[in-house]
Symmetry: D2
């Protein structure tokens, strides 16, 4: 079928290319000439404006947004909306906050435009291996997009599915990322314990590789860890500074709002905050308190 | 080559069978007649005493222990030791505490007996898919056992390796299980959040299946979760009671002993304790304290 | 001086009474006739409408709100605002969310009405012992209220202070409550450990009493714990069900928003959620997963 | 009565002095001449050997050990034991591991020597304010020491008590210190949140002082925090490096051994480990993993 792709960054361009490889026609818009140039070379009909994008698609249109979550989505929708017609469908494939998605779907429904949310997992490997797609929204609209999802997923009959109404896709992806935080932290702690056990001189890169085959903890994240450790077993030159996207925070907030205790996902987020704290006021106060009550020596910085 | 297997329980019998399938000869001992009978049917030369086991193997012998960690290992070694000769090698393939392993290796070295520890991961799937094997001990002894490891691993050149001296294999397996706790808890929390989000009516079994293909959180543990959820999506009839083996506790203790902060692995263990507490004194005291200071109503049981 | 008190519930009535005891005149409003009746007996000029309240006070007025946080505050302000004049000051002594306070202060400033937020700690003991007051808002307005704060605090020169602009008082009280969660949980865990150590037959009520005198962990919350344990050392009949007000949640959210890792305050909140979960889906899934991968027996409920 | 004090360090000398002030005779031993000199000036009969100590006391003797926990206690007991007689009592007032205490009590019982363990809280303030004393051991032996405990405690009838058999005193003190960790961490986190809220410019030293009077979180540890913050509100020059004594570790291990989930005490310990980690391998691996799967930029150190 025919699809418009708004945003030809790495994710958008890769997904568009995978669709093209599966025989779909993709008209792609990106404000950057270089992104358009590269997209053209990958078989995408690259255009320089939303007007052109909309014009190049026959109604009823399907337009996939692959733009940064937040304001950019709202701005893009504001520009798109007057150009679209009842019966069109817009898909948000990014990491939008699910409550924003619920709101946007309601707004677009006024004009008869369907709004489908698609939590997309797979990163840069998705082009080759396919993406895992968690889809939310109106059943008929999702069904209409079936060929798109079947092409993007690792296989037509697996790795994608409608999980619920508008917002459910992004909600599911949010939780997916929360789980990812917890898994990553579990591996990181385990490898740190082994790295510290100097008496055994463990080769953690080797161990990661061993675990990849047949062990209970094998996973795609372990594959990545093994890659990273193989290239740099001592992780020299990498700062112990862990960024976090919004999804972990949302998951933590959502768990609390739902009265679900999720200590591991929560602590995984907190450890990331902690990694960036540097000179912790809390720790300084603890040191100072110890100095007060017991005459414990305070190590001065 | 030729191997003695002590313990023909599920793990021991499966491993022996896999060795037999790869052309090795396995003499297996188990005190239970039924275990021996079943082993015989799987191509294992089952014998009824350690004497017979030792006699059936040509020196230098290789004897693999697959018995419960702890006292049983010490008792088995006490019985085996006088029957063995210098040059023989004993492998402990169970979940022994690594410090016990270090001690045992020293004791057996007095008699010239090599002691190799092999952390074994893979569970009941190992027979078909192969085991992940983390091996500790003397290099020459490990090298001599290479055909055994190559047969047990998923492939001859992957899924097994010597990770360090005596104890290193069991240490690595211990940490592996700690990581497993963390990963399991991360999934469990994520699915619990989704299950509680009633407004979306999420089908968690379906979501697990979607994630298995192409997502960042795909893993073997997710495959298991998907299986469990598919058979019983609401988990009806399963008590929220999570047992723990010793390995999680050891990992937590080891992390603290090494001054490594491992909050996620630690909390995963604590959540298991918590799952079994029932009527928590801590929570009752919190409720009582609230009653004291604010006149908050106490819900009486 | 003269003060209006809106809300003659336990906190409002106690605070009004303490002011009266210190020679101030308090006009109190409450919609409930019984609350007014009781207030009258405690020396408060109780009135049945906001109109009467405002009329009974000479301009510039000072009116203290002691009503439930949230909507009630907004509704009360909506009713009060048209009745007030420039130069009047309204104090919110409840546990309002500090961002609501910032908003309200801005709205009232349009009419020249000062809005002072006062985080109030002390509970039912405050009447006798005085309250700890964390005050936010315009310096001149706070200064004008000095006689009120000096009377409510344990002593004129201690236990109260302006901590910053509008919202700072409620922010500080919010963090105060977060700390309270952490302290309570620390005590609860410690007593639970002692209670479980059956071999020593520890009398936890006695221990709480010993600690109250001279120990490093002595505190007012320990005094409360000792009271609770003395009356009911085994906590029989108290459900292990711990409610939480909004302040703990806000503290956790604020810490994350500020990129401050606050694991103990956070876990204290999560433990309260956990205390109310009953049949945890996460724990059931963990049990089910264990059943999958190792043939571990599942305890059926 | 008459008491021997082994160890005239700060704690031992202070306690001896408090006993002297209450009319008791204290013979004190310390290997250091300076410690003996200072003790003499405080009314203690200082002697230079255990022989002299034992000789200077009439049988049945009471000898209080105030020496570092661990090996020093065993060595001191080994030296004392042949010099003592049946009917003598030895008190360990230090922070010994309770299981060591149980063992030592059994060993000394062979010779008819009573061994009393006394968990001692109060630090350098104890001299003036009295100590909180958690006593374990034989009832008759404890009763015999009543005058000593009454003098050391803040008041004869409060702040001390026999809590159980041998080991129970040190067990209780261990848990006391675990609670202390949790409380300290709760305060530290709360103050760190406030310090980070730059828009309010909160004066955390002032807030600590306000809370000391009438608030729900008032405590002796808050008094210390207020002192520390008053002297150095920004904690400049204090390294965020928090030491830990063994008691927190023992509490965590004990909780797990008892199957009690104590997340706040546990996390408080882990945060101390974390404060000393510097260049966290776990965090570096997390950063590297993120680099792998999403092309997230890695900040190089």
């Amino acid at each position: 079928m025919e699809l418009g792709m708004v945003g030809l960054g790495r994710m958008g361009a890769n997904m568009a290319q995978r669709l093209v490889q599966h025989g779909h026609r993709v008209v792609g818009f990106d404000p950057g000439p270089q992104a358009r140039e590269q997209a053209s070379q990958r078989g995408i009909d690259a255009v320089g404006s939303l007007d052109e994008l909309v014009d190049a698609l026959a109604a009823p249109r399907a337009i996939w947004l692959m733009v940064p979550a937040g304001e950019t989505v709202d701005r893009t929708l504001a520009e798109l909306r007057p150009r679209l017609a009842a019966g069109d469908v817009v898909i948000d494939g990014g990491n939008s906050y699910y409550q924003d998605t619920v709101r946007r779907a309601k707004e677009l429904a006024v004009d008869g435009i369907a709004y489908v949310d698609c939590g997309t997992s797979g990163g840069v490997w998705g082009l080759a291996e396919g993406y895992s797609l968690m889809v939310g929204g109106d059943e008929a609209a999702v069904e209409r997009l079936r060929p798109v999802f079947e092409a993007l997923a690792p296989a037509p009959d697996r790795g994608w599915g409608r999980v619920g109404p508008s917002g459910a896709g992004h909600f599911t992806k949010m939780v997916h990322n929360g789980i990812e935080y917890g898994m990553m932290q579990a591996y990181a702690e385990g490898f740190a314990i082994m790295e510290r056990k100097h008496e055994f001189g463990l080769d953690v890169a080797r161990i990661a590789e061993i675990w990849r085959h047949g062990s209970v903890v094998r996973s795609w994240l372990l594959d990545l860890s093994a890659n990273a450790l193989q290239r740099n077993p001592t992780l020299d030159g990498i700062a112990p500074f862990v960024a976090d996207s919004g999804e972990g925070r949302w998951t933590v907030a959502e768990a609390i709002a739902l009265d679900v205790s999720a200590p591991v996902i929560t602590l995984s987020l907190l450890e990331r905050l902690r990694s960036r704290e540097g000179d912790s006021f809390a720790d300084k106060l603890l040191a100072a308190m110890r100095g007060e009550f017991g005459g414990h020596a305070i190590r001065h910085s």
